[in-house]
């Protein structure tokens, strides 16, 4: 370490001396003792090493049943999103771009007929599963945890045999690692502009794949190093196709990182926390205990949540209330005189479109969300088509919805009042909307969501097989059965 400090100091001197700051790029690059660009000192604990030791040692049999079940739920929810997004333009455009370069047909494109080499399949399936913005969310960091881990792991499972329990173990490991790394740099990293799903997801994909490849702790360290050198994603791309490219490419990068590490492709030892490493470059704050504390006893992966509705979370309390009242009182839109929502001001700021014209517009219209929820009893992708937004029953009811904002109402809560034409008044208070950590979607809800997402791409019997295969992940001899069940 001492010699390296000298080198660094000398490098800076050289810059001044020759009028060329870094003519000695090769030489003056070893870690020094100080971290001038970061707000926190170097951590007293070897973060990368602790994480890779954990990755090498985690075993499904030691994990609490609730954590394992959450893993299966994450798998099932993600598969629905992947199949449901498989016909989107972002997917077909990306497929057209990479197809001339693709290798052997090793891995299935979910919800489609094509097979690609595992690296490209990870990319395309990653785009497919994120393109609807309907996948799982780690609410503390807004990471979509399965987004990068699942496509990498699933593609690998078709290239190299992975038993179901090993697959689930690796999935949980990948989610755990990326969420902890996310916690360590959140919110600074996110505020700088990074799309945290892709920039942290690459670590999850690398470790999950590395574990399934049987990498040693040293090789896992290299996989982390190669992941650190390949972050993907900027928030400026939100609203464009490139948002869903981020987790897809992060999945591909993570898989590549593990494959390279397997061949002995070397990296630094402390790529996460070291001088000139990932966290110094990409975040101003580093809460390293978030990565290393209680590894093996506290599980971020258990906090994963799933969206019941295909629109922004801010609308979910109102939709939840509307569906509850509709189902309990068999509401017909024609029988409703007036609907009043009392909610946080955020609801109108984010989703205040009075007269949405397209399906996408509908996601930003709380009026449409409530009307569609009452008319259809759901707020899934098919409630946000252009046709649904123009449906006469929906537009008629929409015009009778009013929103009152109140800063004292928390954004995850609401009160919905429905006044019927027969004079009755129905009300519903939502404390925690369905899909939140406190009020999670049931397993049956997740199945219904998958059925809805997959029904255009897969026959009904195939959808049932897919659901069954996901739930049986712990007993599968070959995890690739999951991918095969999602072939169109």
């Amino acid at each position: 370490m001492k010699r390296r400090q000298v080198l660094k100091g000398a490098g800076m001197l050289a810059a001044a001396a020759v009028g060329v700051r870094a003519a000695s790029e090769t030489e003056a690059t070893a870690p020094a003792a100080t971290v001038p660009a970061a707000s926190s000192p170097s951590p007293p604990i070897p973060v990368t090493q602790r994480l890779t030791q954990y990755a090498a040692s985690i075993n499904l049999a030691d994990l609490p049943p609730a954590v394992r079940h959450q893993g299966a739920r994450t798998l099932l929810n993600w598969m629905g999103c992947a199949v449901g997004g498989s016909r989107q333009d972002a997917v077909t455009h990306a497929l057209a771009a990479v197809k001339p370069f693709a290798g052997p047909p090793q891995a299935q494109l979910l919800g489609r007929r094509e097979r690609l080499d595992a690296l490209h399949a990870a990319l395309i399936n990653g785009i497919s599963a994120h393109v609807l913005d309907y996948d799982d969310t780690h609410l503390k960091t807004v990471i979509h945890p399965a987004a990068s881990v699942m496509p990498a792991l699933l593609a690998l499972s078709e290239h190299r045999h992975i038993a179901g329990p090993d697959f689930l173990n690796a999935l949980i490991l990948g989610v755990e690692a990326e969420c902890r790394i996310g916690n360590a740099v959140y919110p600074s990293h996110y505020d700088l502009g990074w799309h945290i799903t892709g920039t942290c997801g690459v670590f999850g994909a690398a470790l999950a794949c590395g574990r399934c490849l049987g990498l040693s702790t040293e090789q896992l360290t290299w996989a982390v190093g190669l992941a650190a050198s390949q972050p993907v994603g900027l928030k400026i791309q939100f609203g464009t196709m490139t948002k869903s490219f981020h987790p897809g490419r992060a999945a591909q990068n993570g898989l590549l990182a593990a494959l390279l590490a397997q061949q002995g492709f070397t990296t630094a030892q402390a790529s996460l926390e070291g001088m000139d490493g990932w966290a110094q470059a990409a975040s101003r704050e580093h809460h390293w205990a978030e990565v290393t504390d209680a590894l093996g006893s506290r599980f971020e992966s258990a906090l994963n949540t799933y969206k019941p509705f295909a629109c922004g979370i801010v609308t979910h309390p109102a939709i939840d209330a509307a569906i509850q009242l509709r189902n309990e009182f068999k509401l017909q839109p024609e029988g409703i005189a007036h609907v009043t929502l009392r909610a946080n001001p955020l609801v109108l700021s984010l989703t205040g479109k009075r007269s949405p014209q397209s399906g996408l517009d509908g996601k930003f219209s709380i009026y449409h969300c409530i009307a569609a929820a009452i008319v259809f009893g759901a707020a899934r992708e098919r409630q946000f088509t252009d046709a649904a937004v123009r449906d006469p029953r929906v537009t008629a009811l929409r015009s009778r919805v009013e929103v009152q904002t109140d800063a004292h109402v928390a954004a995850e809560q609401c009160d919905l009042d429905v006044e019927l034409t027969d004079g009755r008044r129905l009300t519903r208070h939502i404390e925690h909307a369905v899909g939140s950590v406190q009020n999670p979607m049931s397993d049956a809800d997740l199945e219904a969501k998958l059925r809805d997402l997959a029904s255009d791409a897969l026959p009904v019997a195939r959808v049932s097989t897919l659901i069954d295969t996901c739930w049986r992940i712990e007993s599968l001899n070959d995890a690739a059965a999951v991918a095969r069940a999602a072939a169109a």
Copy 2:
């Protein structure tokens, strides 16, 4: 713009309200007017747009002859490095990792027999050409300009016909763009830990390939956006195989970005300079005029430099002096009583190894550099093998080399005194070492460097063809002839 500010503000309110900062990741993401994380305000000029307009309009015929000739020199120097590095472990390990996934044999691995699909060929050739740390350098930013542009462009030229003049035009464009972007964020970006060759190189590769694919200005904007979302490289990886992975993967990312953009894969419009864009995320300073000023009349690409010696730049003045004296006075090591170097203190700090034991050690020993230069008349790769470091004539002379440091001597200068056994004293002052901007390597020097690098991998006649093909780039009907000339 006004509505977007409201959204952003609302998003932050939401975070406070629900105790979940970014539950509305999808919604609260549009650019706002302020850039809280960056030190400079949003630029008054649309940087990405100006750059892509330039990229769409640059024409070889309009470029000064010196700029075009520098482009040919960049090509020739890079080809030598790529062939010379083709047997290194980093190359063989990476090839072993990706081969099972590779597509059709579209593009040549330089200095080798294998052909891979163009995307993977860009990766492997990028590793090969950077692994010796012997490639070209833009001294203002320490970017190795050809490192990411060349492998992408060369692989594309074998997949899709590119005429020689279009190839050279695109190479110059790519180098120009990445160096200007580098200037805009240097030194902050580099100081944060990013390996600027990979993080800026991806833009050069994307624009060069995009131009050769005939992309519109809008498509070039998407290529830049996809490049921005895929920076590669951290300085912590210096000294490991992953350093050379960086430009290779950046080349692959840039090529992929252009291919996706060609298919209509959308991104933001201002991915470089916008809120939550690349520069905000990856640098604290943004000198945007460096990108946009005098485009088409001032050429960063003309400032490219080439290393005559296969070791750190700090040793180059002494090696230059030693070779000059050796050649002029026909020095024999046995006839030398004593050698004294007077140089900047940096020389000993960085390269002070008295008794190097390996070839790599030799690069960090000024004593070996001087002795080898006198014994062999060169300081190329073969002067830094284990055998060269242990050569008895070299070790004997090395023990008679002394270094005196003087902070008043600039790092790019030196004085070398050689005392002969017959009593004569020879001295040489170096003001600017060969290879500097002020004293560039001659075309003949570059040819000799390539011959030396390529001679193990290619037959002599093939090497001559390769050199000839590089110099004739402007008149080639098919630029792929360059890659074919480098097949083993």
